[in-house]
Structures are given as C-alpha cells and as structure tokens.
C-alpha cells in the first residue's frame, strides 16, 4: 500500500529521511529535476499524476525535495565523495519530462513518455522509452537507449553508445573511445549521424529505408553485409551511396575503427535480443529490490502482530493470576 499523498502544486521544500517513501501529487505539465552526486537514480513511468520518491542514503547526507513553479527537484546533497552514495527510486507520471544529473551516478529511466535529459560523468546511462527529445551525456561510461521516439542525442567520451528500436527522424550518437551501435528507424526525412574516433560504428539499415549514406574514415575500414553501389568519387575512405530513393541523410564516421553496415532482418538481431535481455535484467533487479523492501515491510508488520498476540496472551495470563490471587486472599 502506498503512503499518503501530498500535493506538490504549491511551493514546498522538505527533507527525506533515510529509507523514506513519499508520494507527491503533481499537476500535468510539471517536470522533474534530479541531482545526485553519487549512487544511482532509477526512474520509472507509472499511470498516476504523482511522483513517488524512495531514497536510501546515510544519516549524514540529506535528500531534499523542492517543488513549485512547474518543477519538482530532488537533490541528494551528500558530501562530495564517491563512496557516499544515495540511491533514489522514483516513479513518475508517464508524461513527465525528466532531467537527471550526477557525477558518480548510474542512471536508469524506464518506460516514461516525456523528454529525458541525463548528464553524468562516471556512470552508465540506460533509457528505455522517452519521447520528443532524448539528450544523454556521460563522460566515462556507456549509453544505452531503446524504444525512444523523437530527437535523440547521445554522447560519451570513453564509452560505448547503443541505440535500438528507436523511432526518430533525428539521431546523433557519438563517442571518442568506444563503439556506436544503431538499430532503429530511418525516416525518409531523417538526419542521422553516428561517429567514433577509436571504435567501430555498426548501423542496421531498415529494409524500407530511403537514405543517402555517407561513409568517412581516415584509417579505418568499411564492411557491409549487403552490396552497395557507390556514387560520386571513389575514394576508399570517403564515399557515398544510396539505398532506396536517397531521401534521408545518414553520416557514418570512424577515424580509425570499422564502419559496419547491416541490412535489417525480419526479426530483431541477436545483438538487440541480447541487449534487451541485459536491460530487462537490470530493470528487473531494481524492481526485485523494491519487492524485497515490500517484504521487509511485511516482516515488520509480522513483528507487530507477534507483539499484539503476545500482549493479549499476557493480559489473559495476568488476569487469571489476579483472579487466582484474589481468590486466595478472600
């Protein structure tokens, strides 16, 4: 059972105790900002106009909720040390725009339908869902986006970036020292760019795609599992070709990695199936944690019942003793 509902429409500010579980009603149009220096932020969409916040943090740290003027802000103000983690679990309305920032912070956003913005330094970013605009940035880890729609921007420096089952006309995914993988839509009016300096760029072209594909590398290679006919000059490191009527634009760049092109099959590729399984496990793990917390709550209620039963037994026992004692005295 959920705790009591508070209203977040007016200006409000309060702190959450460690282990807190709070639900705040939010009117449509509210957005959520989360700042967590170290730890994890797990955000999940749900079908209620309310935000549920659960926080695990130490007694010495503080998690504050500020609400007003169309924004709810959850800020974990720990001492700025990486081992001082706060783990935040949030359930948010499906429509809510979410912005999350952190330093040593892993971020998982699951099943939302609003905009998603994530900025972290040392942490993985996993987004399943999201609409309109998805803007993800990490410095030293991987980015993973699936089932998103709208404009997608994903950028890392020292990590891989994977995007799959995206429905988007505007995608820009890049890294310096890692791989880029894309297996999503290519709309006729779309503009797509996938780039790496040091890693491979692997892109799957949908069967019905119409795109002009530009390949650029300096010391890398190009591989394709379907035949392509080059147009224009035949520079082995920089060339273009068309699939269908050339309407979309796709730029594939890797300074010294391999650019790999795949033609989409009927079913999702084995890679996507594996990635789905991994992300599914990660999300399930978080949900199982919540299940465990609910079982702990049940155990606590069990303790209470044990106490109540015991008290009743004692009351009966003492009443009998009094009666017996009273009888002796008469």
């Amino acid at each position: 059972m959920l705790p009591a509902l508070a209203v977040a429409a007016g200006l409000a500010s309060f702190s959450l105790a460690p282990g807190a579980d709070t639900v705040l009603a939010v009117p449509p149009g509210f957005s959520l900002n989360v700042a967590n220096y170290a730890g994890e932020v797990f955000v999940e969409g749900w079908d209620r106009n309310a935000v549920r916040i659960r926080s695990e943090h130490s007694d010495e740290d503080r998690v504050t909720v500020l609400s007003g003027r169309g924004v709810m802000m959850v800020k974990a103000a720990s001492k700025h040390e990486e081992d001082r983690e706060a783990n935040l679990r949030l359930q948010v309305p499906l429509w809510m725009n979410v912005s999350i920032s952190g330093i040593h912070t892993d971020v998982i956003v699951n099943g939302t339908r609003g905009q998603v913005k994530v900025e972290t330094v040392h942490g993985d970013v996993i987004v399943r869902g999201g609409r309109r605009r998805i803007d993800l940035n990490t410095v030293n880890d991987d980015i993973c986006v699936s089932d998103a729609a709208g404009t997608i921007r994903a950028e890392t420096v020292n990590g891989d970036a994977y995007v799959w089952r995206a429905q988007s006309d505007s995608v820009d995914v890049s890294t310096v020292n890692g791989d880029v993988v894309y297996e999503g839509s290519m709309g006729d009016a779309g503009v797509y760019r996938f780039a790496s300096h040091n890693g491979d760029v692997a892109v799957t072209v949908p069967r019905a795609a119409n795109a002009a594909i530009a390949v650029s590398t300096f010391a890398g290679d190009f591989e394709s599992n379907f035949p392509v006919t080059l147009s224009g000059t035949h520079n082995p490191k920089r060339f273009q070709f068309c699939v269908g009527n050339c309407s979309a634009r796709v730029d594939l760049e890797s300074f010294q990695g391999t650019i790999q092109l795949y033609r989409a099959a009927e079913a999702a590729s084995a890679r996507v199936q594996r990635m789905d399984a991994i992300v599914g496990r990660i999300v399930e793990q978080r949900e199982r944690t919540e299940d465990l917390q609910s079982r702990i709550e049940q155990a606590r209620r069990g303790v209470k019942k044990v106490f109540e039963r015991s008290k009743k037994r004692h009351e009966i026992h003492e009443t009998r003793e009094e009666e017996l004692g009273g009888g002796d005295g008469e």
Binding site: F255, T258, R271
Partner: protein
C-alpha cells in the same frame, strides 16, 4: 493494563537493555513461556528481515559487466571498396598505460595552441564537410573564433586547476583521463590533417573533437565551482 516485559523485548533483541533491566527481563524469560516464545518469534523475524535488508541494499552491480563481449555481433563480410584486402581490426582503444604515458607528454597543452595556429592559417579556413549543417553548428565554438576559443580553453584550464582541490580525486582522475583520451584523438587527427590537408572529414572531425574538449573543460570547471 500494560505488558512491561513484551514492550521491552524489542530493545532486548537490539541489545539496548542494560544492567538490572536486562537481568530482570532475562529472569522473566526463564519463567514465562509466552515471552520466551515471543522472543524466539521476534528473533526469527528480525533475522529474516535483516537478510532481506542486506539483499535489498547490496551495492548495485555495475550495469554493463562485460557487455561488449556479450553483445558483439558477428561482423559483416568486408565489401571490397578499394580498402585493400580483408578487413583488419583497426580498433585501437586507449589503454590506461597509454593514457598514463600520454600524461607525461608535455606537448599535450601545446597541441591545442598548435592546432589553433593551424586553424587560423589562411589555407585551413575552408568549408567543413558539405551537407552536415548540424555538425558545422556544433563545431562553431571551436572553429569560428579560434583566438577566442584558445583563450577560453586556457581560461577553463586555469579555472579547473584552481578548483582541482575542490573535486574528489576520482572525479579529477576521470576528467583527466577523459581529457587525455580527447587530447590523443586531437593529436591523431592533427597528424592526419598534416598528411592530408584537404581532407574535409578529418578537419570536421578535428573541429568536433575540439568542441568536446571545450565542453569537457567547461563541465569540469562548473563542477569545481559548484562544489566550493
């Protein structure tokens, strides 16, 4: 009527009772089967809840342990586009030793200045890759006003240096390693441009990588100032 013993069982389990109070309760427990049974129930439930709590609050495992190995797709066959034979694995990820070695290279900083001086040379001011408007826009800060950008880079570096002590060591390490990754990429792109000055892809790539460097420095500086 209140049950003074039952109310204290929880404190007893938590070892919060001391001295006479504890001795009195233990005496009562030896005599009262009901309380002994309640205590036993309580200990069992607490142990179970404790185990669950340990499981629930265990540190989250790294999100992507070995993910690269697990999702690696069979590579497509090489298409012969003048590439010269079968595809070789050009992937050369920067390793930690490489990064450490690179840290020792004093030329890292001067690389930026050299690049900017190259960028300001007349023959280097050509168009970026045609038809890539978004990239041109993205590269704007680094390429359009090289002098100003060089100053910005130096200012950001100086700000970062002064705020270095305010950041935790792991963040500094991450930022420095990432900066080094970008610096190496810049040097490689610069060498490539030396070898092929008319390569519009390499020039755009250099612009893009410089933009990343400026953004990273900017972010590091913001972090340093935010923690003060």
């Amino acid at each position: 009527m209140s049950d003074r013993y039952t109310d204290r069982l929880s404190d007893y389990v938590d070892q919060d009772l001391e001295g006479a109070e504890r001795a009195e309760l233990e005496r009562h427990l030896r005599e009262c089967e009901e309380c002994a049974s309640t205590l036993s129930d309580l200990k069992r439930v607490v142990a179970r809840a404790g185990a669950l709590a340990d499981e629930a609050t265990a540190p989250a495992p790294d999100l992507w342990p070995g993910i690269v190995a697990r999702i690696r797709e069979p590579r497509p066959r090489a298409v012969p586009i003048g590439g010269g034979g079968a595809a070789s694995d050009h992937r050369r990820f920067f390793s930690v030793p490489q990064l450490l070695a690179a840290c020792l290279v004093a030329a890292v900083l001067s690389g930026t200045a050299v690049w900017f001086s190259q960028r300001s040379a007349p023959h280097e001011t050509g168009e970026l890759i045609p038809g890539s408007a978004s990239r041109n826009a993205a590269a704007e800060p680094a390429s359009s006003h090289p002098g100003a950008s060089a100053t910005a880079v130096e200012e950001l570096r100086a700000a970062l240096a002064s705020g270095r002590d305010d950041l935790d060591p792991a963040t500094v390490r991450t930022m420095e390693e990432s900066l080094m990754v970008i610096e190496i990429a810049i040097r490689e792109a610069r060498r490539a441009l030396d070898a092929d000055p008319h390569n519009t892809y390499v020039r755009a790539h250099l612009d893009e990588t410089m933009r990343r460097k400026v953004e990273l420095l900017h972010r590091a500086t913001m972090l340093a100032s935010a923690t003060r």
